[in-house]
Each structure stands twice: as structure tokens, then as C-alpha cells.
Amino acid sequence: MKSKKLSEKIIKTFKSNGFVLSEPDVLLDSEYIIQRSGENFRRSILAFENEDGKVMCLRPDLTVASCIKFLEKKSKSKIYYSGQAYRRANKKGSNLINEQLGIEILGSKNQLKDDFKVIKTILDSAKKTKSKKILIKVGDIGLFKKLINSLEMPERWKLRLIRHFWRPNYFEELLKRLEKNSDIDSVNFNTDKKRFYEMKKMKQEQLIAGRSVSEILKRFDKKIKDPRSFNEGKKIVKIIRSFLEINCQLSTLDNKLLNFAQKNNLEKNIFKEFKSIQNLKKLNQEVKFITNFRRDIEYYTGIVFEIISGKKEIARGGRYDDLLKSLGAKKNIPAVGAAINLSNI
């Protein structure tokens, strides 16, 4: 009962900030979810086969379920949700059923305003439920991308580091590989060059296991021309590591980043665009910035944050501009949202 009262309090705050209830479907097509979240996620969903042989699952997450609802044009763009999500966890004894309570702003282009609105609303509702000291931790995946793009290394390595930023263990493995310059791609192309010239004479639009000849040749060509080895590995890894150690109060962030850029001979203005974070100064709240804000969820694309009360995380969220596209939208649709962690309140 206690939690019901709490939820009501929180929902009241959501409503007074203009968020409208969205009631996403409980049953979803599981292929849809796997397509989005990857094969490894199959183990986490609670699925069954319906009479047509289609595999359906209970919604594993209300953000995803709400986005699907939005794409079906059945919800407004500024929504809140409250309900159960169902997911199997690897840990024994963890709950199958999770109460989720959160807000999303979908399909609005006013990034700065929306980011602030989401954080402010979540913060206000958190404050209503907790008296302990509140701290906001914030990061921005965009800053990491900017750093990587400013460093001298082959394009493929840049993309690889950005792609795997959200997977701490594998990311560390990549850094080690980069450090030792043991780029696994350094293979001998001689045998394939012959085939390359033969394939050039083929019909370029012909498909080989789903990829066109021209696509294969283009990538092959790019691969040979890409610098195959670079001696800067150690230095680059050092820069990345020291960047990921930046943790500071929001008020000192500007200076920190500037010093970092100077010390590592980077261009002064590489980090200039992070207004969403600067904006948080308006909250009059302790805000701590961390660069190494990593999650096991890959869908965040910009600002990410956690709200901590005492020692517990009571809410988290961020911007995820690619999620709706991965759920089938024709183009990228901006989205930002956050959820309250009820079990920690």
C-alpha cells in the first residue's frame, strides 16, 4: 500500500507537468523486441507461442512498449506510464515482475527544453518522496563521441569504440588491443585481390547472401586504403583513459574539459556543445558530472543521468534518439525519458 500511495504522489507530479497517461500493450510481438534488442535478449523475455505460431512476449520494458504505442499513433508525445514489466534476470531470486513508473517525450525536436523538462520533472517527483539528500549524476555520450572523432586513428576503430562504449568489458578489451597495436584486421589480402578484380566484372547489383557485389567491393577497397597500422595506439589509449577519469562538480566542468583538451593537444573547442548539461545549473541542485557513465543498455545517444538519494539510485534516464527508428520508424525520432526506481524508494 505504501508504494501505491507513493506512485500516486509521483503521478500527480507527472500530470501537473503536462504528461499524459499512455497505456501500452501488455503483449508484444517478440520478434519485434528481438529485432531491436538483439538475440541475447531472447533469454530475458517471457514468451509463448500463440495459436498462429507467432511468438508473443510480455512487455519487458515500458519504455519500449510506450514507443511502440507511439509509433502506432496511439499515444501523445509527452507521456507517462505506470505498470508492470516482465523480464527474466540472470540472477537467482530476482523479480520477474517490475513495477515501472516513468515519463517520455517522444518526437519533439526541442532537445534542450525537453532534456531539462524530463530531468526537472523526475527530480521534483523524487523530492516529494524522499527526504534524504539528493544528488544528480550526469553524463553525455555525445562528449565521448566528440573526443573519439578528434583523435587520429582509422575510421573503423573510431566507429568500433563508439559502438561498444556501452559494454564496459568488451570496451576494455578493445582498448588493450589498441594499446598493443594488435589490430586483428591486419590480414594478408593478396589471395583476395584476385577475386576482387574478378568480382569487379560481375553485375554490381547481384546479391551474395544478402549483400550486393558493389557493397562488398566498396568495403574491401576501403579496408585496403584505410591505414592498416598506426603507432599512436598507446598515446590514444592514454588520452581515452584519462578522459574517462573526469569526474567533477558541474560548476568546474568547463575548466576541466578545457584543461584536458590543452594537456592532450586537442583542439580547444571540441567539447563546446553540451548545453543540456550546462542547463542543469538552473536546478539549484548538486550535480556531479561523470564521463564514464556506462550502462548495459545501448540505446542512449546523448545526455544520461541518475538521481541518487542517500546511497540509492531512485531514478534514471536519458536521451535515446535512435530507439524509435530501431523499432521501425522511417527516420530518427528524437526521444528522451526517465523512470523512477520504485523498489529503492
Binding site: 541475447n40 584486421d185 547472401a209 544478402g210
Partner: protein
């Protein structure tokens, strides 16, 4: 009755012949039932041993549920099975036959794809350009999943296959495959190529024992070489 031992052996092909040979080398002569296709056999002068011929995959299952005490089957099949099942079975001995590799293979003409790192890039490419996932056909979904995820390949979808997996990339059912191969000839003949670092598992036939029986059968198992 307590000293009865039920042994499962593969019911077909080279694996069957080699398994029977393994017992014969150990002076245990396998006596075939007079009906040629009967699935039961005995061992000469060992009335307490019963042999059942089963599908290699089934041997793992039956070791798990206690039907079999001992069995010969592939390491690949044990490792592919669910963890609960694996926990009930001990590997007593790796045998010197039935060697085969579980590998990741791509079409020969994907000349730009030589390593798993390449594959990871192509998978992301397919994902971002077409909003679909690279399809991987396999008879080994668990091992394939574990391997690909550990190598940073996340953007794929498994297509389960029961056989002739090598055809999948060329009939539009998947883009690449993982499959078990001993000589590589079938892959080669079907215009597929193993990635340089695409070895998922080096498999071989093994002598397995149900964990519950491991202690009481130790003397018998140790006598096998």
C-alpha cells in the same frame, strides 16, 4: 542389481563404429542383437552391462535424466545443452575420434570479411542501413550466442536449422552460418569460408558419466583406456 551399467552409444555412422571399437580395444566385445536393426546390445561375459544405441544428442539428454549411466557423444552437444543438464554430467575422458570444429563461416565472395571484427562491422552496417539484423543460421544457438557476444558481435539474429545449414546463405534464409566441420570439405563445396578467428569450439567424442554415478562407476571407467 546395483552393479548394472547402462551405456548409450551413437546409433549411426562413423561415430558408432568408433565407439564400438573403443570398447573392443578395452577387451569389451560388443555383442550385436541378432536382429540387425535392434537398438540394444550387450557385452560378452558382462551380463551387468546393457548397451543402448541412441541419437548422439539424445545420449546427453538420457545421461541427464538417469536413463543412462555412461555414454559416448560429442563435446559440442554437451556444451550446447542447457546449463542444468550440463551440471548433471561429467566428462570422464576425451576420446581420440569424432574430432570436429564448430566454426563461423561466411560466403567465399564476402572478400571483405576475414575476421570476426569484420563481421561485427558488417553486422552494424546491415543494421544501420537496412534496419534488420544479420541472420546467422545454426544448429548450435547457445554456443553461437555466447561466442558472438563475447567477440562484440551483437547485431544479429539466430535462425535455427536442422540440417544442410550450408545452403542457407544461398537460398535467402540467412546471411552466414555456424556449423560443425571435420575436414572443411562440405563448407568448401558449398562456397563457404571459415573466418580466421572463427573457431567457436574444438570438439571431440567424449566418454561421459552421469554425475550421480561417477563415484560408484569409477573403477569401471578407470579400466577403460
Amino acid at each position: 542389481m546395483n552393479n548394472r551399467i547402462t551405456i548409450g552409444l551413437p546409433s549411426k555412422g562413423r561415430l558408432k563404429d568408433k565407439a564400438v571399437e573403443f570398447f573392443e580395444i578395452n577387451n569389451l566385445k560388443v555383442l550385436q542383437n541378432e536382429k540387425e536393426r535392434n537398438y540394444f546390445a550387450t557385452i560378452k561375459n558382462k551380463p551387468n552391462i546393457k548397451i543402448i544405441y541412441l541419437h548422439a544428442k539424445e545420449i546427453i539428454q538420457r545421461l541427464g535424466d538417469g536413463t543412462l549411466d555412461v555414454g559416448i557423444s560429442g563435446l559440442d552437444l554437451l556444451n550446447e545443452s542447457e546449463k542444468n543438464l550440463q551440471d548433471t554430467i561429467n566428462i570422464k575422458k576425451k576420446l581420440n575420434f569424432g574430432g570436429a570444429n564448430l566454426v563461423v563461416a561466411v560466403p567465399d565472395d564476402w572478400i571483405d570479411v576475414q575476421t570476426i571484427a569484420d563481421l561485427e562491422e558488417v553486422a552494424f552496417d546491415i543494421r544501420s542501413k537496412r534496419n534488420t539484423r544479420l541472420r546467422v543460421a545454426t544448429k548450435y544457438p547457445n554456443l553461437t550466442n555466447k561466442f558472438l557476444i563475447s567477440k562484440g558481435v551483437t547485431q544479429y539474429k539466430l535462425i535455427s536449422s536442422l540440417g544442410a545449414t550450408e545452403t542457407y546463405p544461398f537460398i535467402g534464409s540467412s546471411e552466414i552460418i555456424t556449423d560443425i566441420t571435420s575436414t572443411g570439405k562440405t563448407l568448401e563445396d558449398n562456397n563457404l569460408r571459415v573466418l580466421e578467428d572463427g573457431l567457436i569450439l574444438k570438439s571431440t567424442a567424449c566418454l561421459f558419466v552421469a554425475k550421480k554415478k561417477a563415484l560408484s562407476l569409477q573403477p569401471f571407467l578407470n579400466s577403460l583406456e
